[in-house]
């Protein structure tokens, strides 16, 4: 059901773990539903200079988290706020319909992290 791109992203996820010097964190989902995505951002002058993730969830959740961190690094925070789950899906070259919600969680976690940063600053 997963395409090669998703499986590859799952096999070799990028930006794993907790970013030591993160200044923004966003969390989406909950364990009862089987998916929690946590995004760590390091933001300097409204530019995301680094990002990482921790995820409890299925292959799609992990792949979405990984790809989303890669997508936001280098972006400014307004661009990141505009990240849509459909772009995550596109970057992963499609996703099984029942897994689309994982990409939504990725979008949500990014947004929450940026909002966390905005709230703090």
């Amino acid at each position: 059901m997963y395409n090669e791109k998703i499986l590859n992203e799952f096999k070799n996820p990028q930006n794993m773990g907790e970013l030591k010097d993160a200044n923004a964190i966003g969390t989406a989902g909950n364990a009862k539903c089987g998916d929690i995505l946590q995004i760590f951002l390091k933001i300097e002058d409204d530019i995301i200079v680094d990002a990482s993730f921790k995820t409890f969830g299925c292959v799609a959740a992990i792949a979405s988290s990984s790809i989303a961190t890669k997508m936001v690094i280098g972006k400014n925070i307004d661009e990141a706020l505009n990240l849509k789950n459909s772009e995550v899906v596109e970057e992963l070259e499609g996703m099984p319909p029942q897994k689309i919600h994982c990409s939504v969680l990725a979008e949500e976690a990014i947004k929450k992290a940026v909002e966390d940063y905005k709230n703090k600053n």
Binding site: M1, L7, F10, K11, P13, M16, G17, E18, T27, A31, K32, C33, G34, D35, I36, L37, Q38, K54, T55, F56, G57, C58, V59, A61, I62, P96, P97, Q98, H101
Partner: protein, 386 residues
């Protein structure tokens, strides 16, 4: 190294079974309803397959009806009892951990007005016999309780259930799909009226199964048309599949004792090793009353599917209790019914052995499992949190 530990999903067809089937596809290919010699020859083998299958369960040949598999048998048994009953109010008792073939069929019947009682199970997955007794009433047509569960391997007290049903005068159907290869089943001793099974779970081909139906029990056909299966199940008799299934069952029965013993040893060693050495792991199901080949463990802080796929990268095939493959987002209904917390329900993995599983394979799986669990926990926001 490739290790297939998903034998509860389906098994590799036995070499001897394949050879037998080839003979019927290439040589004895007649339609067993035809009265010429090609047909008679085919019929002879269908008859002897039926005899042989029946004898394994101490049933009569005329009580075996071939179907396309466990799902059809489950559907037929349940819908067949309901549709043939004349009474106004119809009541069926099942458990909460039945296979979807039973659960969804009952959901459907419920919408049509049939009353369904879904029995709880305890933390080991066992139904409560008193609750069963209390649930039976004048409208109860049928009790359908699976012989052994496909996810957690828990074996139900079939004999006791059969006795209760007999005493109360209600029919007893058991989905024995997971039990055939390892359990000794005597339908008379166990008071089973209807029993579903499926060839591909015991090293036979997919697409064939059977319903045992005690003689005298009336169920309306699900598939009508020709006169096959004594007018109860129409459709050209799939000779090659039937002889394949019969052969597979013979082979299973022959070595059952030794294979069960071997599996149980591998199973218990593996479970002990994991529970002892990998923290935050929990066995699902009953420690003793479980299928010899079934291991089901929850790995806290990890979602089952990702563990499954990580093991897959190491060449290991297992199944995750979470119903991802089916497109559902909910945790497994079986694990949930055990009363474990929902996070854990998403974290279960089933390892199901075949008769050929070796200790080397199990050791390899254990080693890779340790690595995979560690990796995924490092990635888990829940693990840090504890």
């Amino acid at each position: 190294m490739q290790v297939y530990l998903d034998n509860a999903a389906t098994t590799k067809v036995d070499r001897e079974v394949v050879l037998e089937m080839n003979k019927f596809m290439s040589e004895i290919y007649g339609n067993s309803s035809s009265i010429h010699s090609f047909g008679r020859e085919a019929l002879k083998h269908v008859d002897s397959a039926r005899n042989s299958i029946a004898s394994h369960f101490n049933a009569l040949p005329s009580e075996i009806f071939f179907t396309s598999g466990g799902t059809e048998s489950d559907n037929w048994a349940i819908k067949g009892v309901v549709n043939s009953a004349k009474q106004q109010v119809k009541h069926i008792i099942i458990s909460k951990i039945e296979h979807p073939a039973v659960l969804e069929t009952c959901d459907l019947l419920e919408k049509q007005g049939v009353l369904i009682t879904r029995l709880d199970v305890d933390k080991f997955g066992m139904i409560n016999l008193d609750e069963l007794k209390r649930s039976i009433n004048d409208n109860t047509l049928l009790v359908s309780i699976m012989f052994a569960n496909n996810e957690i391997g828990t074996i139900q007290p079939i004999k006791e259930i059969g006795e209760i049903c007999k005493k109360e005068g209600v029919l007893f159907h058991t989905d024995a799909v997971q039990a055939i290869d390892t359990q000794d089943i005597d339908v008379n001793y166990l008071n089973i009226d209807l029993m579903s099974f499926s060839s591909h779970k015991f090293y036979g081909p997919k697409g064939i199964g059977a319903l045992y139906k005690r003689s005298g029990v009336k169920i309306t056909p699900l598939i009508s048309g020709g006169h096959q299966e004594r007018g109860e199940r129409a459709g050209t008799t799939p000779v090659e599949l039937i002889v394949g299934m019969a052969k597979a069952l013979d082979i299973c029965a022959k070595n059952r004792f030794e294979i069960n013993a071997k599996k149980i040893e591998l199973r218990d060693n593996f479970i002990d090793k994991v529970l002892k050495n990998i923290p935050y792991t929990y066995l699902n199901g009953h420690k003793k009353k479980r299928l010899p080949g079934n291991i089901n463990i929850s790995f806290e802080f990890i979602e089952g599917e990702s563990l499954l796929m990580m093991l897959d990268l190491f060449g290991i095939a297992v199944s995750s209790g979470s119903a991802c493959a089916s497109g559902a987002l909910e945790a497994s209904h079986v694990i949930s019914a055990l009363g474990v917390k929902e996070e854990l329900a998403h974290s279960s993995i089933r390892f199901s052995m075949s008769k050929d599983t070796t200790i080397e394979e199990m050791n390899y799986v254990y080693e890779q499992l340790v690595i995979a669990v560690e990796r995924l926990r490092k990635l888990s926001p829940l693990y840090i949190a504890t």
